[in-house]
Symmetry: C2
Subunit: 304 residues, 2 copies
């Protein structure tokens, strides 16, 4: 009886900045531990992993461990390959790196690779798990042509055709936004948060992005509107966010076949809730409806 109760699996998403581990018992999450990201654990991934699950190990070893994300990167724990697009869930699962660790079978899930329309290679590690998880949770997503957006530091826009990821595009908009807000002369440290000004800035930035092909010309207003037009220190972050997200959506709609299937309900957002709302707003302004899925739930489904 004790043996049965203590049987558990460990699944997790090990990203650049965070390790998130879930303890799964009889199909349910019963505990969670967070640990350092791959960047902080560089070269000592195994030790960082062991330290993070130590409380669980003291009790009993897991029956299996499955990880996605940067755990499989070259400087991660054990390098996992990239499965080439088009790839379905079976192809992707078969490409995982598998090994034993302290007698426990470990699978580090593969990433996905594709060649963009420009001939440049493109890569993902982690988001594919959410995509295949979303399809596993809602089989309707695996029928027909779907555009799945995974907002984050390096946003992915993926085309799924009948359950296969046929292509995707990485837009490092989140990283660019953080650099501009926190490390440039355009952002401004806010003394006390003013959500109304931030929201106004976001709306102004979105509107600005509707004049396509003016991204570089529009950046400096983040600074000049604060210095000369009375905007508060919260306005620039909102403006930069709206300008970048709006420009990203404009690029996708204007330059790819991604969003031209003619179906109004084919865009799905997976990830951080607050960021997903912003993408939904930007898409909505362009007349494109979207649905939002929970990122953690999709990750867990993909690792099941």
């Amino acid at each position: 009886m004790t043996n049965l109760l203590s049987r558990y699996e460990v699944v997790g998403d090990w990203g650049t900045s965070r390790l998130r581990l879930f303890r799964i018992e009889q199909g349910r999450v019963t505990a969670r531990h967070d640990g350092p990201g791959i960047a902080a654990a560089a070269g000592q991934a195994e030790a960082a992993f062991a330290a993070t699950i130590a409380p669980w190990l003291e009790e009993a070893a897991p029956t299996e461990i499955r990880l996605c994300g940067m755990a499989g990167a070259r400087d991660g724990w054990v390098e996992a390959p990239y499965a080439d697009c088009p790839a379905d869930a079976a192809t992707w699962r078969a490409a995982a790196a598998r090994f034993d660790w302290r007698g426990v079978p470990v699978a580090i899930m593969a990433g996905l690779a594709c060649t963009g329309t420009t001939g440049a290679p493109d890569l993902m590690r982690g988001e594919e798990t959410q995509i295949f998880g979303a399809i596993a949770r809602d089989p309707a997503l695996g029928q027909g042509r779907r555009l799945i957006v995974l907002p984050g530091t390096h946003n992915k826009w993926a085309v799924v055709q009948d359950g296969r990821v046929t292509s995707f595009r990485t837009m490092p908009t989140g990283e660019l936004f953080a650099l501009l807000r926190d490390r440039s002369t355009l952002g401004a440290p806010a003394d006390r948060p003013d959500p109304a000004q931030e929201a106004q800035g976001f709306a102004d930035g979105l509107r600005r992005a509707e004049e396509e092909g003016r991204l570089l010309s529009s950046l400096f207003a983040a600074r000049s509107m604060r210095l000369r037009a009375g905007r508060s220190a919260d306005w620039p972050a909102g403006y930069l966010s709206g300008l970048l997200i709006g420009s990203e959506v404009a690029e996708i709609l204007a330059t790819s076949g991604l969003a031209t299937s003619g179906q109004a309900d084919d865009i799905w957002l997976i990830g951080d809730a607050r960021l997903s709302v912003r993408y939904a707003q930007a898409l909505g302004r362009r007349g494109v409806p979207s649905e939002t899925l929970d990122g953690d739930a999709c990750s867990l489904a993909g690792l099941s």
Copy 2:
């Protein structure tokens, strides 16, 4: 005789990151001292200035001091106003902040302000001195319509009509480039410089920018081409530079009346020689010829 020989003026450009002071005797530069930028001297600008010219002061006081740039910013030495566009040299000179320092007349030159086509204010401090200096050096520049580009951290594209600056636009492309190269996951530290790969990256980036409205979609290739297509660690910096400069030029040519005067010889570049060559290349690929002027010579002429 000694008195005559020791008569001198001090002129200088005090930017965010550097103070550059020139000693002028009988119209010629006879010495130069560099000091800390306004950012480093914050709150103690006067002391930093005094320390920088101390070797000259020991001999004799200057007859006059004229400074441009961030010396006149709110957190500079003494705040100087912005002259509103359209502004000619006389209007601009009259707007300088003037005061006495240890009995020596000081002029801190005004900046320029304008309202962009989008209604957002725009500002410059320092570049206007180079523009009016260029016109002073070559009166032909003060006739007809000219587009003057001042590449730098915050590039300025200024329209000059019959010697008056009628409007300008700030593009923070240089700052964006430095952030992406040095602080993002897209750049890569190069072990040993490989100028050929860097130049190849620049050409690839320029070519990529010719597909307009794809700036965000094209950034990630800086990383993926290195990880998956054998590009060296020097290629991404070149690629990012080419992509950004090419995109900037494309925005200017596509969206403004700036470069549509129909004259082939109306674009003038003032500033850093290496950067000016890159802008000339980007303009050249679009069939737009340009001429390059020496930045220091234009600054000195503007302060004379």
